[in-house]
Symmetry: C2
Subunit: 134 residues, 2 copies
DNA sequence: TTAATTCGGATAACAATAGTCCGATTTTTA
DNA sequence: TAAAAATCGGACTATTGTTATCCGAATTAA
């Protein structure tokens, strides 16, 4: 129902936190405590963001995470893509047609695609920087 | 994860079908068969759309549904609102604060609200008419 | 060597969505 | 007036997806 998952919500909030503390390596524990986000769940989220090149991890004691890039160049669209496979509003827009077992009856693909593209435009043009300018 | 529910997907498709057959009363059964949508599930959906004044029902044999208004004046936003209570991208944008147990830690409300408003604009400006112009 | 951290896989708990069942009511028409 | 075809309404079930947890391994600074 057009809601972002907690993984994405937590992810964005964590990135915002890192953006506001740029320069220092920040542990999952610190973010978890400061933002009241379940530690284990946040850890997973950060690991995925790390694998997708949005943040950089440093292992070991004194380890943690740091933004990989300027907050202005990390978009919400990228974050969503990293944390989920499909960010499509209806199944028939999926690349693998198997996702939509009603493909032969789908009469809404084109107009839905237009709407999807407009939403994508918004997500591509919203960056982490806008979340730290509060 | 930013996906529309089946209720909404089916609802839009059904409204599109009605728009393309305007003038005649159309039964849930016909729509269900033509679009390969589970009958009982579709029925519920149409009943809700009826209650919300988006379509008009006619009971009894030869009964069915018909659009309540010109397709140009029924927006996707209205349909979503009719079929779901909350169409918000994050919990903290809810009116009743109880929905967000992290409200005191929420640092993303303002920027998320801006994004929400942009999405709302899109949904308010996409009508059923655009779905029948295929 | 120890402590604090990330990493990775499995799994459990929970919630929401999707779908079904069934009986009641309405209305047309034969 | 009876039968048939439709909507209406509530309860229920099944399935899936999200959210969260557990635990052990690997890494690294001090």
């Amino acid at each position: 129902m057009l809601k972002l998952s907690k993984k994405i919500e937590y992810g964005i909030q964590a990135l915002q936190y890192m953006a506001n503390n740029s320069g220092s390596v920040i542990s999952a524990k610190e973010i978890s405590e400061q933002l009241n986000i379940p530690y284990e769940f946040l850890s997973k989220t950060l690991q995925i963001l790390n694998k997708n090149g949005i943040i950089i991890s440093q292992q070991g004691i004194k380890g943690g995470y740091i933004l990989a890039r300027d907050p202005k160049s990390t978009t919400v669209a990228e974050i969503i893509k990293a944390l989920e496979e499909n960010a499509i509003i209806v199944d028939c827009l999926s690349n693998d047609q198997e996702n939509c077992d009603r493909i032969n009856f789908c009469t809404i693909k084109n107009p839905m695609n237009k709407l999807q593209e407009k939403i994508n435009f918004l997500l591509n043009n919203t960056t982490i920087a806008e979340f730290s300018e509060v």
